[in-house]
């Protein structure tokens, strides 16, 4: 029982780190970036290449995945995304799907279509018993990293100067510009950060989720579910939504495997029927 709860939390945490960047671009910048998963894929594949081809330690891969995905994010933001901020949501959907196609085909070309598997350092493998629950060391590792990230994220957005500038830029770009805030820079940085987190999520998830070229499309639905259930006005919303979905998914599949597939979708539809803005949405001023 506790094992299931633990697995669910780990799964949820991973979902959170993967999707929080999307929450930022969607909620704060009002940009539907369906290609978010492509950045996660970049991080995942980078880990695969570094570990399997060059034998670099897994621990180096994590920051590398973050940085490379962030750089990739900032590059694409400057060259492509920034031209689309004032386009309609539909255009953004079309664009980001196009980007997914390109990323999928490109990864396929370079890395091949088959699943990539990484082998974690031995001390991250294995399990131990704790209070009757069987704890996987790696999942514990994931929980700890993701937990720290969440706290750091909350702090950055809620407490720092950058956070307040970001919120100002989002509330009203023109006013923020008038106040001397470099909105373009803030957006680029935010986008980079969101992409970096996705990349890190991809690196962390490379061994649990399967890394293949269809990754961005396969997981897009999950990211969107997290955002829809959690709402986009806070960071905590998607966080709790991820945990809820992770636990519900894992528990559902464990206890009633025959209908396991329904659970996540049903939860989402139910939540959206009763709380169309998401379960944890703050009521907005307007």
């Amino acid at each position: 029982m506790l094992t299931i709860l633990f697995d669910g939390v780990a799964y949820g945490m991973l979902l959170f780190v993967l999707s929080v960047g999307l929450c930022v671009t969607l909620g704060l910048m009002n940009f539907i970036n369906l290609a978010h998963g492509a950045f996660a894929m970049a991080g995942g594949y980078l880990t695969v290449v570094m570990m399997n081809w060059y034998g670099i330690s897994f621990y180096w891969c994590l920051p590398a995945a973050f940085i490379v995905s962030a750089v990739l994010g900032v590059f694409l933001e400057r060259t492509l995304y920034s031209r689309l901020y004032d386009k309609t949501h539909l255009d953004q959907v079309l664009f980001s799907i196009g980007l997914i196609f390109v990323a999928t085909a490109a990864v396929d070309y370079v890395m091949g279509a088959s699943q990539q598997i990484i082998n974690l350092p031995a001390h991250l493998n294995g399990r131990f018993e704790f209070l009757g629950a069987s704890i996987g060391v790696y999942r514990l590792f994931v929980i700890v990293i993701c937990g720290l990230l969440t706290v750091a994220l909350q702090f950055v957005i809620g407490r720092t100067r950058f956070g307040s500038r970001l919120r100002a830029s989002v509330d009203d770009g023109r006013v923020a510009r008038g106040l001397g805030i470099d909105v373009t820079f803030i957006f680029a940085l935010t986008f980079a950060f969101g992409s970096g987190l996705a990349g890190l999520g991809g690196a962390l998830g490379a061994s649990i989720l399967s890394m293949d070229p269809t990754f961005p499309l396969k997981y897009m639905i999950y990211f969107l579910i997290v955002i829809a259930v959690g709402g986009t006005t806070t960071i905590t919303g998607p966080f709790f939504a991820s945990i809820l979905l992770g636990v519900a998914d894992v528990a559902g599949k464990y206890f009633v495997p025959s209908i396991g597939g329904f659970i996540i979708y049903s939860i989402m539809v139910l939540v959206l029927i009763f709380k169309p803005e998401g379960l944890f949405a703050r009521s907005t001023k307007r």
Binding site: G98, D108, L224, F262
Partner: protein, 362 residues
Amino acid sequence: MSVASATDMSAAAAGPASLRLMSAARWRWYEFLFWGIAVACGLSTLAPALGFTVPVIPTKLMLMSEILILGLLALSIDLTLGYAGLVTLGQGAFFGIGAYTAGLMAKYGAGVAPLSDPLLGLLGAGLAAGVVGFATSFLVLRGSDLTRLMVTLGVALIVEELVNKLKDITGGTDGLQGVMSSSVLGIWDFDLYGYTAFWYALGITFLCFWFCRRLVNSPFGYSLRAIKGNALRARAIGMPVNARLIQVYTLSAFIAGVAGGLLAQTTQFASPDMVAFHRSADSLLMVIFGGAGHLYGGLIGAAIFRVMQDFLSNITPQYWLFWVGIVLILLVLFVRNGVIGLMMAASQKYIAKVPPKSGALK
């Protein structure tokens, strides 16, 4: 007396204005061209029998049937998205329900004359999808675009799971086998070359298109545009906004169901692919690609998208996706409102160069 004369006067003023309003519904030359090309594509298959060959087109009859069917599905999305402004990512659910309904009717109705009739099958497909559409329409009345996107997607995913689970009825993941389509109107059998399938799909698609065209040019259609334009104002002039949305959503589900039924009948099976997420996403993509809000957007989008895919995947079966992606990105970056937007921009450039014959046109 005076009342009558006032009416006369307004009626006199109304003449040109009324014509002007109705002119939006007039068939234009390019519409005849569009459907003419579709018919010509079908007719060109007869060319070899007459002793000459038309390259490219005749070899693609199956592809063209598929384009028509996908175009019809996209048309159903355009009705909600382009006119009423409702985003949906779950049209695949209705498509799939239609496909399975038509498939089951053809399978179990085989031999039982009226049940196995393809046209009746389509009606059944449409009705089944329409009922589900009506039942779920209440979910799309609230919330933002994202909420609608996700709720409709959620419904589609649940339907997909149901199709997988109800193995005894649907055949599960392996798909519904043994669908035997009866001949259309008892005359034309579905042949290997896809002649019947093509003309049948063309006929049904045109019929649905014609219906939608009437609809969007009716007072009802304009009330949908009003809702899309400004729902608050629409309510303030006394419009039953929710009722209208429910009606159009249900209708759209009906048409999607008919499209699904067509696919099941012309391919003689139904599989979970027909409900799958990618079906919903592709069809939405086609509408946006073609340009929403013109009815032709979905059809053109489906045509260009599928021809492009077929063309590219012949050149590079493994990496065609890359080039499709590039096209999508370029389209968004440089064009407004899809392919139709591109055409309109081009024609406006042309009009700007050629001075109009009379000032009254502008």
